[in-house]
Symmetry: C2
């Protein structure tokens, strides 16, 4: 009977109409019906990603699409510049190593954004760098990187710009084409309001030139093969039909509201969460913060692993803790996708109660009050 609330940065909540859409009978994927679905989904994704570039859908988690953006792009020995300021930056480094490339790592303090000028310096100093790998929002820290400035720098260079937008695209501004992001990687289970199981990668003409040059070992994630199939809106392999059907519905909902409005909606929720944290005397980890997830430093005497566990098992509230070096010291609240005002209220209220329960001195209700002050002053969202 206990109600469960999913407020973690992925998987996120899925609207009931999307879940029910996926309960429709399965149909075959080598048919006009599927090709129409595929075409509609791609149009919907392009509107959200703000791109006219090719978009590919992979039946995999986001990491699979990240692999596609490495395995197709880097030949063994190739140099790639990697922005590493959290767990997902590290994943780019690991992927480069797995495929025999040479990652040149920019170590960024966890919780801080990369300085675009450092990227410019590396590209100027080392003409062998063929690609720059970064994240839009580092989900592990909640930081927003300045992709517009990074794009302006990389654009003038021969290197391509690859961005992990898995947790942020659909929540925070991403102008793929205008900013010059050559490959953008996105996952289904974050701001796109879908269950996990699909991932996406965009490919610009500049990235195609690189991919066509590179002799890769990619097979399941082979983009050249996918490009061939895509001419008829086919997939090289059997696609996850039910997830595709759900995605069409989710994109319909997102694009009806409009992506620019959705970015504003996320800003509003994130501002409320940040105001609440400050009102409770808690520090924010990320500088600057992304509006898709709010990472809050916990008081020193609080065991963050225990806090997350107690919230889940005793309160029915799932938020995320810290990963790797941040383990036990932060909590992370998602604002991605199918989230509204009262998701922020629930998360902050739960945080107030659990901190009180764990012996912290705070004024119960002070965080919620601060959140309400932000939310009431802004126009409401329709959901």
């Amino acid at each position: 009977m206990r109600k469960e609330y999913l407020l973690a940065p992925g998987p996120t909540q899925v609207p009931p109409e999307v879940l029910l859409e996926m309960a429709r009978p399965v149909f075959h994927h080598r048919t006009g019906e599927y090709r129409k679905l595929h075409e509609e989904v791609l149009a919907g994704l392009k509107a959200v990603f703000r791109t006219e570039n090719d978009v590919f859908i992979s039946s995999s988690s986001g990491t699979g699409a990240m692999e596609a953006a490495v395995a197709n792009v880097l030949c063994p020995g190739d140099k790639a510049l990697v922005v590493q300021g959290g767990k997902f930056g590290e994943r780019w480094t690991e992927l480069c190593e797995a495929f025999g490339a040479q990652p040149v790592v920019i170590e960024v303090e966890w919780g801080k954004a990369v300085d675009p000028e450092i990227i410019r310096k590396h590209l100027n100093d080392d003409p062998d760098i063929v690609a720059v790998y970064t994240t839009l929002s580092e989900t592990s820290t909640g930081v927003a990187n300045d992709l517009q400035s990074i794009g302006a720098i990389v654009k003038k260079n021969d290197a391509i710009l690859v961005c992990d937008g898995i947790s942020s695209v659909g929540a925070v501004p991403m102008e793929t084409d205008a900013w010059g992001v050559d490959m953008l990687v996105v996952g289904s289970q974050k701001a796109l309001m879908m269950p996990p199981g699909l991932a996406f990668v965009t490919v610009s003409p500049k990235a195609w030139a690189r991919i066509d040059f590179c002799e890769s070992t990619a097979y399941y994630f082979d983009l050249k093969r996918a490009r061939k199939s895509m001419k008829t809106f086919d997939n090289p392999w059997t696609p996850a039909v039910t997830l595709m059907v759900g995605l069409r519905k989710a994109l319909e909902i997102l694009n009806e509201r409009g992506i620019e409005q959705i970015w504003k909606d996320h800003t509003r929720l994130a501002q409320a969460a940040r105001a609440a944290a400050k009102a409770l005397g808690l520090e924010l980890l990320a500088d600057p913060p992304a509006d898709c997830v709010t990472a809050i430093r916990l008081p020193k005497n609080v065991d963050g692993v225990e806090l997350v566990k107690k919230l889940r098992t005793e309160h029915g509230i799932t938020i995320a803790g810290g990963q790797a070096e941040l383990k036990g010291t932060i909590c992370r609240i998602s604002h991605m996708g199918y989230a509204g005002d009262y998701d922020v209220i629930i998360a902050i209220s739960a945080l107030e109660m659990i901190l009180d329960e764990m012996g912290c001195e705070l004024e119960l209700g002070a965080g919620v009050r601060a959140a309400e002050q932000v939310l009431k002053n802004d126009q409401g969202t329709s959901e």
Copy 2:
């Protein structure tokens, strides 16, 4: 309003209770709830696969799990023996080439099974062969290979045996451990009564020794990494939670009936379909045929592509045609998974009507009559 019937060899029909199970709210995967789900799904899969070996679940199509069984196993230059008697045997060859291995191809006439003695001869003559890749049932031709005999031969050798059972496991007998299949690859969207999006691979101790020896470029499909996560029933990457929830329900249904009974159920349906084809004067392609799919040669004057298209667009019946060299000359009817007596009746009735429509001389009802004679003489299935 028109009713649609999915009778193609994957994706196949999914029971409504499985579809509805997947409409439940999404939950987080780093929780006890998910780990319990994962553990239950693995136990259910092991019962169906008849194995005590490790089983890994990948969020991908079956081809992704095939890639795992190549990328983790073969180092560049390694020799692998490949049984190639259809489109899916060819996929093994392509995968070997993609990862820089040397496929030694046994060309088998499409529609015929491989002679296990040829495998023995290759292994005796060439001690450099490190793995044998084959299919249990070649979905493109409907042929059943004799995995028991092949297993007995490979078992005595240092090479490992890798079997594509994507379309057949859960429909036709597969004794993974007893027959010595070191790696078995299976997909969700065939006999397991699930939508596409999940794939499985089993790993025997002999296969692990090979994998541990091999330095691979696998990342998303890295089995060593997956083995580490599996110790706590975790996945390295975000799993497709909704599909996992559906799979638990599908496995519950399958294991309640019992896999040995399910094999018999498939035999019964396939026998009815084969009797019907013969009664209509049509020839069967496969020798010996697998009981998961029936491939029927069409009369010479019939365009098979047109036949499949007309059935789908005018009758609402989806069956499969021929692929590659068989294009236009055969049709394939599935008996996999959630299929019952009246699925055979529907398929045969549709075939009778479309052949009549396309100008073939045949006795309407003769195929259905022959199918009924098989079905009534055997004990009925419960579904």
